[in-house]
Every structure is written in structure tokens, then in C-alpha cells.
């Protein structure tokens, strides 16, 4: 069983990083805004960044331990790191880049490197220089260069942020395919919930240098637990909340009383609702509804964003409508009410 354990404490220029990541998932995601400490976490695991105290272990091999003063050099960690800009060596050909971490330039190594390039569909590019490749091709070379060294762990630092948006979607799918043969764990850091939702089995959410939520990726999206985590997973609508009884929560900012069939057990101070989840209601008002008073409409290529008046002037509700639903609205006109589905209401601390 593969297992990553990283307990990292570090203070740098007034920023405190205190993260603990423990996972035996094959694909681990770290979601956070820029400056949240997610990249620093990755760099600490790789040994590029120094750590003040803690313990880092991959498959039972200790890479760092402040108690026993263990601090392996990045060279000895067997941790592959893919940089945001891929960091291909500009003065080396593609083949030489892939061979860079293989030690001696033997024929055997050359064949192995060429084989890896073939597996990542980069054969024919062996003698090109990185500057002659597209972003997607550079990424594949960077991955080949890592995989050929057979690391115990692979770290991907915002791997898609340098790509054009149309390439990004394709490379996300390709990345999963390319990593299929790799048996070790892979950690991916990103600020994009879409990338991580697709990629991760287990997801960690980082904010201001600490992990604020972790768990099975789908479960984290379903129940982010905190406002910050909900926002990072893409939730657009938030309201301050007051619980009046076991089955009722008052959404103060929206002026809506929400009834729950199930008992609400945890203390709730805030509720969130995803912009895609509203049910349009025509005719009479039902339970858990808000009046559909549209203050603004944004027309996007594949969806319409409606903004609905609430009690807070500056914060209208976002309602995002796509495809079939939009077709119905075009036919019937705007609904009279929007209904909050009980199962989609995020109860937040």
C-alpha cells in the first residue's frame, strides 16, 4: 500500500505554513488560492524548500524528520516534480532532457528514454529543442523526464496553468492517461476546482497555510463544511444563517426560511448554494423558494448567468442556466420563483 505522510511546519516572511497531509490515495489533489501555501507544500516535499520542523515520509521511506535531523537532499528523495513552466533545459534536445536524470549516457538509457517518449506520443521529437515545442508537448516531455527516473512519488505544480484554455481540457484527460501506468502516488496542486475534481481521489483544501478540509474528493465538493472551502470548490451564493429549530434555518441575507425534512445537527452559521442547482418554479410559491427578481443577465457562450435580487443590494444570488433548462425558459419565460433543493444546500460553519 502506497502512503504519503507530510507534516510540514515552516515560517517565512510572516507566513506560517502548517499542513498535514496523510493519504494512501493514488491521486491526491491540493486545492487553494495563490499564496495559500499549496505550492510551498509541494516544494517542501520535494526538498526544494527548507522545512523548519515536521516529518515527511513516502512509502515508509523517511525524507525529512526534524526530530532525528533527517533531511534528504532533493537528489535522494526520489520525488518527481513537474514545474508550472515545465523547466525543460533549454540548451538540451528533448531526448537529452529525458535522459538528464538517468545518469550515464549509455545506449541502454537512450533506448529507455526513447521508449518513454514513444509511450507519451512524443517520438519524432527527440532532436528538437524545448523552445520548438508547444505547451502541451513540453508538458509531455517534462512528464517523460520524470517518469523515466521511476520516482516513488510525482508532484504536479499547477500543471495546466501555462496552457491555452482549449488545450487545458485535452491535457487534463491526457494527463490521467499518461499516468495510468504509473503505480506510485501523484499529488497535484491547483487553484482550479475543475482540474482537481476530475483528477483527485482524495482532496485537501489549503487556506492561509493550513488544511481546512480533506476527504474523498466528491464528498468534499458535496459537503465543504466551511465557507472558504465552499468558495474554493466553486460555490457562488452565501448567506448568513440562523437556526430557529431542528428543521428550520433562516437565510438572513436572502430573506428565505429554509425547511429541512432531515434534522440539522451541526451548528450552522452560514449556508451556501451552488449557482447551477436552483429549480425554477412557475406559478405559486412553494416551500424553500425565493422570488425570481432578475436584476442582471450575463450572456455566455454556453450558459446564461442570472442575478437575482436579495435583501443584500450588493450581493445578488447567482443562477447559472445551461442547455435544456435554458430552452424551457425561452419557451415559458422567466420563472416566478427559484427553489432551493434540500440536498444541495451547503451547511457551513
Amino acid at each position: 500500500m502506497k502512503r504519503l505522510y507530510a507534516d510540514i511546519h515552516k515560517t517565512i516572511e510572516g507566513f506560517d505554513l502548517n499542513v498535514k497531509i496523510e493519504s494512501d490515495a493514488a491521486r491526491i489533489g491540493i486545492l487553494g488560492e495563490s499564496g495559500s501555501g499549496k505550492s510551498m507544500t509541494l516544494r517542501s516535499i520535494a526538498g526544494i524548500e527548507t522545512v523548519d520542523s515536521g516529518h515527511i515520509e513516502v512509502d515508509g521511506r523517511v525524507l525529512f524528520d526534524s526530530a532525528s535531523k533527517t533531511d534528504l537532499k532533493p537528489q535522494k528523495r526520489k520525488v518527481g516534480y513537474m514545474f508550472q513552466n515545465y523547466a525543460l533545459f533549454p540548451a538540451m534536445t528533448v531526448l537529452k532532457n529525458v535522459m538528464a536524470g538517468m545518469g550515464r549516457q549509455t545506449d541502454e538509457n537512450r533506448a529507455k528514454a526513447a521508449d518513454m517518449l514513444r509511450r507519451l506520443r512524443m517520438d519524432g521529437f527527440e532532436d528538437k529543442f524545448p523552445g520548438e515545442l508547444s505547451g502541451g508537448q513540453q508538458q509531455r516531455v517534462a512528464l517523460a523526464r520524470i517518469m523515466v527516473t521511476e520516482p516513488d512519488l510525482i508532484l504536479l505544480d499547477e500543471p495546466f496553468s501555462a496552457l491555452d484554455s482549449y488545450l487545458r481540457d485535452r491535457m487534463q484527460v491526457e494527463m490521467l492517461e499518461m499516468l495510468e501506468d504509473y503505480t506510485g502516488q501523484v499529488v497535484m496542486v491547483s487553484h482550479s476546482r475543475d482540474e482537481l475534481y476530475r483528477f483527485s481521489e482524495e482532496l485537501f483544501i489549503v487556506s492561509r497555510g493550513s488544511i481546512i478540509r480533506h476527504g474523498e474528493a466528491k464528498a468534499v465538493f458535496r459537503d465543504p463544511e466551511s465557507t472558504i472551502a465552499a468558495r474554493l470548490t466553486g460555490c457562488k451564493n452565501f448567506s448568513e444563517a440562523v437556526q430557529t429549530d431542528k428543521h428550520t434555518i433562516e437565510a438572513i441575507d436572502w430573506g428565505v426560511t429554509l425547511k429541512f425534512r432531515k434534522k440539522v445537527l451541526h451548528p450552522v452559521h452560514c449556508i451556501g448554494y451552488r449557482a447551477h442547482r436552483f429549480d425554477p418554479v412557475w406559478g405559486d410559491k412553494q416551500e424553500n423558494c425565493i422570488k425570481c427578481d432578475v436584476v442582471r443577465v450575463d450572456d455566455l457562450p454556453f450558459e446564461k448567468n442570472y442575478y437575482i435580487r436579495t435583501l443584500r443590494e450588493d450581493e445578488p444570488l447567482c443562477w447559472f442556466v445551461q442547455g435544456e433548462e435554458q430552452r424551457i425558459i425561452n419557451e415559458r419565460g422567466l420563472p416566478d420563483y427559484l427553489k432551493f433543493a434540500e440536498d444541495d444546500i451547503l451547511l457551513l460553519e
Partner: protein, 234 residues
Amino acid sequence: MSGFVELAKILDWSPLWISLKTGVVATIISFFLGLWAARKVIKKDYRAKSILDGILTLPMVLPPTVAGFFLLLIFSRRRTFGIFLNDTFNIQVVHTWLGCILAATVIAFPLMYRNARAAFEQIDANLVYAGRTLGMSEISIFWRIVVPTAGPGIASGTILTFSRAMGEYGATSMLAGNIPGKTGTVSQRIAMVIQDGDYVTAGFWVVIVLVIAFVMIFLINMITGKHMKNIRKW
């Protein structure tokens, strides 16, 4: 023109060989010392960097005669270090070819060092980190990643160093003197024949220097240009 050909036949060519040898040796020494110093200096903090940089650049800023003065002070056979070198290792610097090399190296070294340093500082730190996570040794990272990536800067440093070393006059004349066939470089020969009023011989040497300088620069540009495919034009 026929005068020049006649002149070429009877000319003492030794200054050319002395200058070329001096230039090549001083460039090789400066190359390795310059890369080494640049690598050390960029790792220092701001304060130490400023001080070290100042010391290493000084020979370039000072008049060469001032550098020559200090070199004489150190290596004169009447002074402690000069005596030590002479008695222990039988090494003489003043009025020898070694003096030529030393003077040229001291004067030209800052050009190598400064160009290398500037080129190193432009390098994306991720390249070095990538090398480390791939398991490459620090030495291997330096010679296989850092130096080739800094190639254009290092190449221009090398060209400038060679040109400066080959043409060195001030410090060389003080330390090594102008002994024909031994320390008499082209620059010194030009100055000497002009003092004698022999402008034809001076002009002949000037043309040779111009040709060599141009060919060297052209060659190095060609060699480095080939490996710079990856650097995009702007």
C-alpha cells in the same frame, strides 16, 4: 601593397605569437576562474555580494598601470612574496612571459566574471531545482544545465576577455616589460615602433590586430549561434 608584402617577409613575427599565446592562456584561466567566482558570488547575500563584486571588478575599473603597480608590489623579486616564489619554486614573474599572462588575466578576468554572473542571474531557478529533483549532482547541474543555458552571456564574456587579454598594454609593460621574443606583445610593439616614427610597421600590426579581433568574434558568434536555436528572436 607590395611594400606590405616585403615588410611581411622581413618582419619579426614574435609579437603575434606572444600576444596570441598570452590571450589564449589568460582567457582559459579567466574562463574557469570567472565561472567559479560568479557561481560563488550569486549565492551570497546582498551585502557580501556587493563587497565581493566590488573587489572582483576593481581591476577593470582601475587604470591598468595601477593594477601593474600592485602586481609589481607583490611579485617583485625584491619583495617577500616574489623572493618566496623565486627561492622555493624557482618561479619568476617580473620580465617573463608568466608576467604577461598574469597581467592580462588580472585585467581581463572581471569581464568574464561579470558576464558570467549576469548570465547566471538570468537563469530560471526552476531549472536548477528540476535538475536536483531528477537526481543530478550539483556539478552536473552546473556544467550541463547552468553553463549551456547561460551560453550567450558566457560566450560574449569569453570574447571580451580574449580581446582584452590580447590587447593588454599598461599592466603588461610594467610587470613583464617589452623584451623582444619573450614578453614583447603586439600592443607593446606598436607603441615602440611609433616612438621610432615607423608608421608603416605600426600600420601593418594594426591591420593584423583588426583582422584577428574580427575573426575571433565572428567565429565565436558562429559557434555559439548554432547552439542557440532554442533562444527565440525578438
